[in-house]
């Protein structure tokens, strides 16, 4: 069954890749959507059939074949379904299905229709492999597969230079992260002797996580990073996550990745692939909980990324770029959650974010199509009356991401902020700092999202006026005459509505107990508990009993004890912080509304508009030195002198030897016979004389 889930999209990809060129658009769309639908239906079926067992922590394996077995190293092609991967495949296949549906409309008339859907299906295969793998090497296969698909789809418009450049940038930056990931897996194997996640007695497999549990906690110290132990593994894996999930300092590829078609941005660069890093960190939570240094670094980087990207997002004019920075920022929140030990909250945010960010991207795609391929917000405005459904659904997404109460984003973001405030895994004063950064970021988030909405849907219509956009004048003339904006076709609107519903209601699966007073069970986190390691107090062994900092029983994510004490806990702190969050969100929206409602074309500080000049800094500090070194050292010295010298020398040597040996190869059959006979005689003679 699990095999069928990952294979269905692969079959679709194979069919489309091999025969798609001769198919019609309807058939291609049908195949692409139906294979993903198969995966989705199977995922839901498995989930509802087994959710009780999954909640108990049972794991379902599906062994396909032994992939590599060398010495003690073993890697199986085998799949694992536990509560974590179950959650992932549910929302991946669900969101992906609707994005596929959306794409059938969005890509209409494109010459590479079949190619697009072949890549998309292959992406689904890779992503599901990543999620369902039961060892790190299989995960790495999926990891690289999604990277490949990302590359292919970013560079989908391969006739355009900027798309190719963006694709290459994404690939190369990801390569840095992947290298870290691979090193981490190798080190893990070296230390643990296995790359499987869990024990599986049926196959006689020892899991890396049970090894991790048997180890002592690393100390919270810089030296631990370089000690080659658990912390080093965790840091290396986190390097991989920063690449894939676009965290500082490797986030630079994601904004450029918007060069791909919008459904790609929605599926790969918002909802699924970029959250693979969070998935991996949550999956390896047993390792992270033993490496507090890595947790601290992860939390700080997450928070920093969130703030950093949010501020850049304030100053972008391209509607997709705004969303891209927003994605980076939200990913930062997720890592912040993981870093403070709230893995469940992080995954919950992944889950809700998948809905509202996919919704926002698809809405943006709908706007772009409606505007006849215009992405610049300067040339939008007043679209509300032209695209009512798009507006309505994006409105939902806007409120959800801004943290307006009772929408999905509110619950998950609030949970993260609360957890970072009360975390006991980090030394003082980090929890407060992290909470502060997170809260401030929430404010900025609300502001820039309001800016986006205001510039796009409210105010004066700025399209059709070619002289308005200054530098983009020529651009406007090309596209500006396509007539008035109009609402998108039904195949695009329907996914928007479905995802909007998701953005509203997804949050109710995981309402924090503090808010509901325990009336509503936090179903989501209970479900995830068995798959995620418990965050541990670094100083003591009082793992099971709450923590001194926490007024709440939910300070740690672990199960039984928390439940036992939860009922008597006081939720006042949590409720107070929630109130602060609500105020922040409403304040952000209000600020944005007032400011940008009045001056929608307000020029932001150039530092922000140029993204803190990070690309320029990277160019100067990393790329130029590499280029200079490559040209002067690698090319002109090593390649020309040494390697070519070796190659040419080898060639000349071979020429010399051949010149000598040529006389043996006379072409005269009889001399060959003479040699053969001589050899035979010698061999027989050897055996005779022996």
């Amino acid at each position: 069954m699990l095999g069928a889930i990952i294979l269905a999209p692969l079959v679709g990809a194979a069919i489309l890749g091999l025969f798609g060129k001769r198919m019609g658009e309807r058939l291609i769309g049908l195949i692409a959507c139906s294979t993903v639908a198969v995966s989705a239906i199977l995922s839901f079926y498995l989930f509802f059939k087994h959710h009780a067992e999954l909640e108990q922590g049972q794991k379902f394996y599906e062994y396909l074949f032994t992939w590599i077995s060398v010495g003690t190293f073993r890697a199986d092609a085998s799949l694992l379904l536990d509560s974590l991967s179950a959650v992932y495949i549910l929302f991946i296949t669900f969101v992906a299905f609707w994005i596929h549906v959306f794409a059938t409309g969005y890509m209409r008339g494109d010459t590479g229709y079949w190619r697009f859907f072949a890549y998309m299906n292959f992406f689904m295969f890779s992503m599901l492999t990543l999620v369902l793998a039961d060892n790190f090497l299989m995960m790495f296969v999926g990891w690289e597969g999604v990277g490949l698909c990302s590359y292919l789809l970013i560079g989908y418009y391969f006739t355009k230079d900027f798309a190719n450049d963006a694709a290459k940038k994404a690939f190369i930056v990801n390569r840095i992260g992947d290298f870290g990931f691979a090193l981490g897996v190798m080190l893990l194997f070296l230390k643990a002797g296995t790359i499987f996640y869990f024990d599986d007695p049926d196959r006689g497999i020892h899991g890396a996580f049970s090894w991790a549990f048997s180890q002592a906690h690393d100390p919270l110290a810089w030296s631990a990073i370089f000690a080659g132990g658990m912390t080093t593994i965790a840091i290396l894996l986190f390097v991989g996550a920063t690449g894939k999930s676009a965290q500082l300092p490797l986030y630079v590829w994601l904004p450029d990745a918007m060069a791909g078609p919008t459904p790609v941005s929605a599926l790969i660069h918002a909802a699924t692939m970029v959250t693979a890093g969070v998935y991996m960190v949550a999956r390896a939570s047993s390792i992270y909980t033993h490496a507090p240094t890595a947790m601290l670094i992860m939390a700080v980087i997450g928070a920093a990324t969130a703030l950093f990207a949010a501020t850049i997002g304030l100053a972008q004019w391209d509607i997709k770029k705004v969303l891209a920075y927003s994605t980076i920022s939200q990913l930062g929140y997720m890592f912040l959650a993981c870093g403070v030990g709230a893995f469940g909250a992080g995954i919950f945010h992944v889950f809700t974010h998948a809905f509202f960010k996919a919704l926002l991207f698809l809405g943006a795609g709908s706007v772009i199509i409606g505007m006849h391929h215009e992405q610049d917000m300067k040339r939008m405005g007043g679209l509300k009356k032209y695209m009512p459904v798009t507006f309505a659904t994006m409105f939902v997404g806007w409120l959800a991401i801004s943290g307006v109460p009772f929408l999905s984003g509110f619950f998950s973001k609030d949970e993260i902020l609360y957890r970072s405030f009360i975390t006991d895994g980090l030394p003082e004063p980090w929890p407060v700092i992290l909470w502060g950064v997170g809260a401030f970021t929430a404010l900025i988030t609300a502001v820039y999202m309001t800016r986006l909405m205001v510039m796009t849907f409210w105010g004066k219509a700025r399209f059709g006026d070619a002289h308005d956009a200054g530098a983009h004048g020529g651009h406007g003339e090309e596209h500006g005459h396509g007539g008035l904006p109009r609402e998108s076709p039904r195949s695009m609107v329907l996914p928007l509505v479905v995802l909007a519903a998701g953005a509203i209601f997804a949050g109710y699966l995981g309402v924090p107990e503090g808010l509901s007073g325990g009336k509503l069970p936090n179903y989501f986190e209970h479900f995830l508990e068995p798959s995620i390691a418990r965050s541990k107090v670094p100083s003591g062994d009082a793992q099971a009993n709450g923590s001194p900092h926490s007024p709440s029983g939910e300070t740690t994510i672990h199960g039984a004890v928390v439940q036992g004490s939860a009922e008597v806990e006081d939720h006042s702190l949590e409720r107070m912080l929630t109130g602060v969050s609500i105020i922040i969100a409403l304040a952000g929206i209000g600020m944005g509304w007032v400011w940008f409602g009045r001056k929608p074309l307000w020029e932001p500080p150039s530092l922000l508009e140029h993204k803190y000049y990070v690309d320029e800094v990277y160019d100067a500090t990393v790329i130029q030195p590499i280029k200079v070194g490559a040209i002067n050292v690698l090319w002109k010295f090593i390649d020309v002198r040494i390697i070519d010298g070796f190659v040419n020398g080898a060639g000349q040597l071979a020429g010399l030897v051949g010149g000598g040996l040529r006389h043996l190869q006379s072409g005269l059959a009889r001399s060959y016979v003479a040699v053969v006979v001589l050899g035979a005689l010698l061999i027989i003679g050897y055996f005779v004389m022996r």
Binding site: Q665, G667, L668, A669, R670, V673
Partner: protein, 100 residues
Amino acid sequence: MVPLSWYLGLSALLFTIGAVGVFIKRNAITIFLSIELMLNAVNLTFVSLSGFFGDVGGQLFVFIVMTVAAAEAAVGLAIIISIFRNRESLNVDEVDTLKL
């Protein structure tokens, strides 16, 4: 009865004659014939050992050698024909450029 060693000795002689033929003849067809002679000498060894040891395997081997010889003759003669077409000669000492 005829001792086994007589058969094997005859086989050895025939094989040597075949080998000498490959050595000293220059006509490609004659060389080919000498090779066939060597194959037959080996066949004789197989058949005689098969007979004396009462094991049918040797004769099966001969059977297969014959089919291989047939295949070899087909390909070999085709090569000889195409060489002759190109060079008007069957002298192996003239065909030494390692190409047609």
